[in-house]
């Protein structure tokens, strides 16, 4: 029985790894990236409204100038990432359809609100 269980694990692992490798291979082709930067100061985003081109992949840097950690989160963009105090993170977004995509700082939602405008 133990052998059967081990076989199960090996089989499911192999499947997962194969899927992963196939997907990575498919990821080889990349669109051009557009750089954009957001800052966090006093638990607020600067700028609170950031305009980016629609239809392009965006490499968004978020610089936290506060000493405390924040979590960049957006349901509309389907993203979440922690940025430690005085740290910087990069999040890849898009290509986006034209529109407004709100985001927020999960740890300071009263003040840390912003929106990404794709046009």
């Amino acid at each position: 029985m133990r052998t059967i269980i081990i076989c199960d694990v090996i089989k499911s692992s192999t499947l997962a790894v194969l899927t992963f490798v196939a997907a990575l291979a498919a990821g080889g082709v990349r669109a051009a990236e557009v750089q954009a930067t957001l800052s966090i100061r006093d638990h607020k985003f600067e700028p609170a409204e950031l305009t980016v081109p629609a239809g392009a992949k965006i490499k968004l840097s978020i610089e936290n100038h506060d000493a405390t950690p924040e979590e960049f989160e957006s349901h509309e963009l389907n993203r979440e990432k922690i940025v430690v105090g005085n740290g910087t993170i990069t999040v890849f977004i898009g290509p986006l359809e034209a529109g407004r995509y709100p985001f927020f700082g999960d740890f300071h939602q009263e003040t840390a609100q912003g929106v990404l405008v794709a046009q």
Binding site: M1, R2, I4, I5, D8, V9, K11, S12, S13, L15, A16, T19, A23, L24, A26, G27, V29, R30, K59, A67, T68, P69, E70, E71, H75, E76, N78, R79, K81, I82, V83, V84, G85, G87, I89, T90, V91, F92, G94, P95, L96, E97, D106, F107, E110
Partner: protein, 279 residues
């Protein structure tokens, strides 16, 4: 205090929902409290460590350490659930029969409870590390100890209460269907975790999105709402999923379902023979 309580509640809730499903799936197993307890303990310890080294993890591998870490532990949990679900598919009926005839707990035997310990630990670690970082920030910004403690208490009690409600709700499922029901719940849970892992790999630009938003049901059920969050944790509901997430979801669900079929049913006659011999 209320703000703190709310954030802690949301994170604890997500972990508690997963722990509840694991508890339901291990119903009647001798010593399962120890396994689940150890998983929670390991998760809390891991959460503190991950929070303490958050800057190291974030900076690792040219800035995508956080995504890789999250994706890896999520996929590890997926494999563990798959292993357990497939094991249960071949032993579930036996367990139900044993529980019905003896009317009490059964020995774990060769059941992979360590797999579920890892699932619990991963769930607690992921949500817990966010709580720890948040609380650290609150404390550093001068929040009072009493307000923080009150917030933590509120959040933990609230989250755990919902977890218990789900657990006791699941116990209402008739014993005949119980283990196949919890097994299917575990399958959906695993598929959801795989989809989350895909999300992190897309965010890090390691995987193509294959379409950013294949559909949008946020008007129907938003991921920002409590119900949306609950469904997100339990079955991997996503109002705006990327194509790659759907692919991960479908592949995981299919692989586990196939595993349950392939290794679950053929062993049945042998099991009955064994059970008969034991009687």
């Amino acid at each position: 205090m209320l703000g703190t309580g709310l954030l802690v509640f949301r994170e604890v809730l997500e972990a508690a929902l997963i722990v509840s499903i694991v508890c339901a799936a291990t119903r009647g197993v001798v010593g399962r409290g120890r396994w689940v307890g150890s998983g929670i303990g390991a998760g809390v310890l891991g959460a503190i460590l991950v929070a303490a080294f958050a800057n190291v993890i974030a900076a690792a591998i040219s800035g995508i350490g956080q995504e890789l870490f999250n994706a890896s532990i999520l996929l590890a949990a997926v494999l563990m659930i798959a292993w357990h679900a497939i094991w249960m598919a071949s032993h579930g009926k036996e367990l139900s029969a044993q529980m019905k005839s003896v009317g009490s707990a059964v020995q774990a035997g060769s059941r992979p409870l360590s797999a579920l310990l890892i699932v619990v630990a991963v769930a607690v670690l992921r949500e817990g590390s966010e709580v720890v970082l948040f609380l650290y920030g609150q404390a550093a910004s001068g929040a009072g100890a009493a307000a923080l403690a009150g917030g933590i208490a509120l959040g933990v009690i609230g989250g755990v209460a919902v977890g218990f409600a789900l657990y006791f709700g699941l116990l209402g499922i008739p014993l005949r269907y119980f283990f196949s029901a919890t097994n299917w719940l575990m399958l959906l849970l695993a598929a959801g975790l795989a989809s989350q892992a895909a999300g992190f790999l897309i965010q890090a630009d390691l995987l193509p999105a294959l379409g950013n938003r294949i559909w949008d049901t946020s008007a129907l059920l938003s991921n920002a709402s409590l119900m949306g969050k609950t469904m997100h944790t339990l079955i991997g509901y996503d109002a705006q999923p990327a194509g790659m997430q759907i692919l991960f979801y479908a592949v995981t669900a299919t692989a586990i379902a196939l595993g349950m079929k392939l290794w679950g049913n053929p062993a049945a006659p042998r099991r009955h023979a064994k059970a008969a011999a034991a009687n």
